[in-house]
Amino acid sequence: MKEVKFLTHEIGSLAKPPWLVKTNAGRPLQQADIEHARLWGEKVGVPGYDRLIAVLDQPERDPNEVARWSSRYALRLFESAGVDVVYDGEQQRSEMYAWAVAHANGFVERGTVRSFDNKYYTKSAVVAAPSLREPYHNEEFEFLQSAAEHELKIPVTGAYTLAIWSYDEHFGPRGGRLGGAVRRQAEIAARREFALDLAHDVIRPNLQALIDLGATWIQIDEPGASTESDELEVFVESFNESVEGLDCMFSTHLCFSDYDLFFPSIEGMSGCKQYCVGFANYDSRELGTSGADRPGYEVISKFRDLPYEPILGLGVLDIHRDFIEPPELVRDRILYAVDVLGDPARIQICPDCGLRTRSWEVAYDKLVSMVNGTRLAEAALNGAHAVTGETNVFPR
């Protein structure tokens, strides 16, 4: 049997450092902010970070330059934690939804609403047929290609999530809704038209532009995919419309959902080569590799049984708690998944979601623990089998 080696990767966001947040807001820096840059530059080994310190010492700073430095730091944070496939934690983006709609035509901001706790997002309304103003990840990707030492995976917010997170002031009826007069099928039809327009006229040209620049792995982020349980077919259709015929590895990221809802609809999403899914949020912190020990991972057999045999990006870090998962807990989550899926090559390891709500200290410790736990799982599996010297990493 081949030696088991799991690929580890990040998901998307990482908190922005205080020196970037304050620069973007036009606020002065404190000495502690500069120390933050110095400390993390040393800790994760950012090449030439002293040049950033010199920039931060200036009263006037170019936000774009500081954001690029923040990208370098985030890349190195992931890389030095031992993560195989990385991105920059969306340091140059405002936020996954706002960044996309800000670069598309047809949207108007309607104000800020809560997502949970003290986390908010600026929500827009679609007021006209959406279209791409300009490819909005090219500059970022070109820069990261020049700065990354590890392989890159680009997160791109998906069409359905952009649609479901927007108010609809264009596709659906604007009046006559009171009294339950607009039936559900009409609402679904309106959302389908909206999502497919986004897929065809915003997402797809954006993906093509990234591929033209050399992108090999693009993650379509769809945290809103299961928001409406009777619209899963719209999600699937919009994903397919976004990627069909394009030459790249496409994966999708799902999180904080009732994952049972996705079945059987995603049987029709064969262009998705990897499902990167958050499970740790629902799981126990106790060690163990039985089904009873791992309640958060109960649904993974359904991903196993998809006819086109996608990889499962196994979320092993709860990104909304400061709790640092011990490597042994990460190991047991992986071993349970291997037991269920049967084939280690169909498993890759990642956090549940982006780590933007955690401090860099917590995020880093979690990632290190994720990588260490992955190594423990590999050791357990390789110790249990004859090692031939071959490495069994799923080809991408």
């Binding site: 003290n118 108010y167 009171l178 339950g180 904080f256």
Partner: protein, 287 residues
């Protein structure tokens, strides 16, 4: 929002956040008073979600997994039971229930919603958590709204369990059971007439008036403002709709179909104003 963000990032103090919430609450109350609403709400500005304050004030219930709230991009910590019979350790104080200058409503989770996914019965959480909380409310609380997002959506909901839980409350208060953001027809078809509540709330963006049973004898909290849409309601349309409801139901109150936190504050303010305009238009029509 900015104050709580700043608090999370260590840029401000809890006292400063308190002061900001006080100002925001006063502004929200003023909007309601300007609109001429009969019962005021404090906006639940400090509540992280519908359940969290009660979970944190309880022994035997705690915040669990982060869970999507219905078909929204909003999340809550689902209640998780750690004891078979949870108890409210201390009723919520003014931090969560701000004093208001006029008769008010207080919104709490319904016992069905609070028990969902915990393995406990609604009756257990009603008696252990909600009853002492409701009993602790001051006399200015004119109506307790028990918010129920799940019951009509749950497969095979048991009306007897819900009725038993409401009976366990056993409080001398006006109670409303509001079905938020859902088609209330499945619940209405079960027959809600005997439930020990004074009012039933219905989302009329998802429920048709013809689905109201004949002889509906309770107060109808008619959800006529869509709290999930950025589109602004026409007060005339709301008044006309309410007038049609009054042909079938004697006591109709006009309300949003759920929490207004799903739209930005300026939109929420305008929706409240239009709710008030609809109420006055309805009154003029009746006169």
């Amino acid at each position: 929002m900015q104050a709580t963000r700043d608090l999370d990032r260590g840029r401000t103090t809890a006292e400063a956040v308190d002061e900001q919430i006080e100002r925001d609450c006063a502004a929200f109350v003023a909007v309601q008073q300007d609109a001429g609403l009969d019962l005021l709400a404090d906006g639940m500005l400090r509540w992280q979600d519908l359940f969290r304050p009660l979970l944190e004030a309880s022994e035997g219930l705690e915040p669990g997994a982060l869970t999507r709230f219905l078909d929204t991009n909003t999340f809550y910590r689902a209640p998780r039971a750690t004891k078979a019979a949870p108890q409210l350790a201390e009723p919520l104080g003014e931090g969560y229930l701000r004093p208001l200058p006029a008769p008010r409503i207080v919104t709490l989770p319904s016992p069905w919603a609070l028990a969902k996914g915990t393995g406990l019965t609604p009756r257990v959480v009603a008696g252990g958590i909600l009853k002492p909380q409701i009993e602790a409310l001051g006399p200015e609380t004119d109506l307790v709204v028990l918010s129920e997002p799940f019951f009509p959506r749950d497969p095979g909901p048991k009306l007897d369990d819900l009725a038993s839980a409401l009976e366990a409350l056993g409080v001398d208060r006006r109670l409303a059971l509001q079905f938020v953001f859902c088609d209330a027809r499945p619940a209405l078809e079960l027959g809600l007439g005997d439930l020990p509540v004074d009012a039933i709330g219905v989302d009329f963006y998802l429920t048709r008036p013809i689905d109201l049973p004949d002889g509906f004898a309770k107060t109808l909290l008619a959800g006529v403002v869509d709290a999930r849409s950025s589109l602004l309601e026409d007060p005339r349309e709301l008044a006309d709709f309410a007038a049609r409801l009054q042909e079938r139901v004697e006591d109709v109150a006009l309300v949003p179909n759920g929490d207004l936190q799903f739209v930005a504050e300026p939109i929420a303010r305008e929706k409240i104003a239009r709710l008030g305009q609809a109420r006055f238009a309805l009154a003029e029509e009746a006169a």
